[in-house]
Amino acid sequence: MEHILLRDLDIPDIRNFDVYVANGGYEGLKKAVREHTPEEVIQIVLESNLRGRGGAGFPTGRKWSFIPKDAPIKYVVVNADESEPGTFKDRQILEKNPHQLIEGAMIAAYAIQATAVYIYCRGEFWDLAHALEEEIEAARQANLVGDDVLGSGWNCPVYVHLGAGAYICGEESALLNSLQGLLGQPRVRPPFPAQPGGGLYYAPTVVNNVETLANVPWIILNGAAAYKAIGTPESSGVKIFCLSGHVARPGNYELPFGITFRELIFEHGGGIPNGKKLKAILPSGASGPVLPATGEVLDAPLTYESVAALGSTLGSASFILMDEDTDMVWAAAKMTHFFKHESCGKCTPCREGTYWLERIYRRLLRGEGTMRDLELLKSIPRNMQGGVTLCALGEFAANPVLSTVQHFYAEYEEYVRHAEATREARQAAEQMHDYTLGEAGELPEAVGQGGVR
């Protein structure tokens, strides 16, 4: 089947405006503007069952329908902050097939009659963002973006905004603050972005992920039913799966929902290198719980529902694969370090929780962990979950800890056993030493204990 999103794999030069247009590009936007009312466009997207690809899986048409029609100013903001460890799908669209994103964003903008579109690119996408501006200009010259789009009388410029390196700015309300020149911290909700007071410059705003919007031109051109026919009834359409870590062919794979973990990892990804066995899978980057690579997991279909039923989340479908030699305590420590670094510090459970978790992991990895530390690893994350934080980062940060403790507890115990054995051996050695010193009468015992080390 030809790709719907990663069309660069079928048509290498599709990033060029002329090539995109020669291959049916912008026909979706033309059809939307010339043949459909904004309400009809929302209805089509609703019926297609397209759900957000940024992680939360919220129905896209529903999100658009929340925008009040009578609001004088409205925005579409494209979330191109892509910073979840293991995620690099939006980047391929932006780099290799940028017009499809521009077209999708313009159709969304038409559907809500937006005043402007802002594409928030993570700052590290520096080169890509500057190239994207040139492509937007090409679309503007062809009257597909900007003033009087396709002669419809509707004006809608598209701008690129660069972030500067902060994972939290991928969270939609933090993103809006960052775009407004405020500190990139999440907002208290409600109001949600679609509501007055909640969006960009406090106007009703649709925030959508790059991949989500890239689906839209195809849906408008081919109809909701055609899109819904792909995948499964609950998880419709195609998804880009990112494969990274211990896998023979890392990269992006666009596939229909409903294929199994096994097909994705072994058929498409080429399996695990060096003849190793697969041990663990993170299906949604660092944010979702880890799954052990059991037969049950490998045979499960990749849909939002079935991954949730396994106890994890499909999220943005960033698969980080770990082979049998991977130290899961080390892996959890890496992810904890990530969340500690990226916590914006606004809520106490997240700020303090990630701080203490990281300290415990350092202790464990240094070979100084105790059973008490393991108890803390079970209890601290509990205090970060259950909606006690302003955004989901606090909950994300608990996942790698709780899920590795759940599935790989023996590895934690091994660290502590080793640490205890080392402590005992050291104490024995110190006692010997103290004993010798004591005999010589040089040092009192108490001083010796602290000082010898």
Partner: protein, 163 residues
């Protein structure tokens, strides 16, 4: 001063937004490009351009990893050592790079040319080990490739000095 030297660019940045304040991130980049880093004076200058208090410019500069409030080497290597890259050898790669350059984690070489730093995922995990050098990506790296890059940059820097 940025306002005179880059009047056109600044105008273009302001024209993107209904509120001046949104321009602060682009202007911080501009100041960093001009001065090499964001000193207190540079932050004040940017703050004045967008009509905010300098302390707010400070807090924004401190919030993001791509702004530097300290002088950096001419070439700023930001190596990703996040989990997916680390599973493909990024930690060892980073250590070897530090040793090759003779610097500690986060340090700058004595000649002031190279600063090395570890960063979080840069959305290039399928091409690990990888890093960013002055905001440009270098992917599928190994020590030999990065040595060649360092050599090339040294020559570029020497040539620039000779001019």
């Amino acid at each position: 001063m940025l306002a005179e030297k880059y009047a056109d660019r600044i105008e273009k940045i302001f024209s993107k937004y209904p509120d001046k304040r949104s321009a602060i991130m682009d202007l911080l980049y501009l100041a960093q490009e001009e001065y090499g880093w964001l000193s207190g004076d540079a932050l004040e200058e940017v703050a004045a351009l967008v009509d905010v208090d300098p302390t707010q410019a400070h807090s924004i500069a401190g919030f993001y990893t791509m702004y530097s409030e300290k002088p950096k080497g001419k070439y700023w290597f930001q190596v990703c050592t996040d989990l997916p890259c680390a599973l493909r050898g990024a930690d060892d790669f980073y250590q070897a790079l530090c040793e090759y350059l003779g610097v500690e984690d986060g340090g700058t070489t004595e000649d002031g040319l190279f600063t090395v730093e570890q960063v979080m995922c840069l959305a290039a995990c399928d091409r690990a080990p990888m890093m960013q050098c002055n905001f440009h990506y270098h992917e599928n790296l190994d020590l030999d490739k990065v040595k060649a890059l360092v050599e090339q940059l040294r020559q570029e820097a020497a040539a620039a000095q000779g001019e």
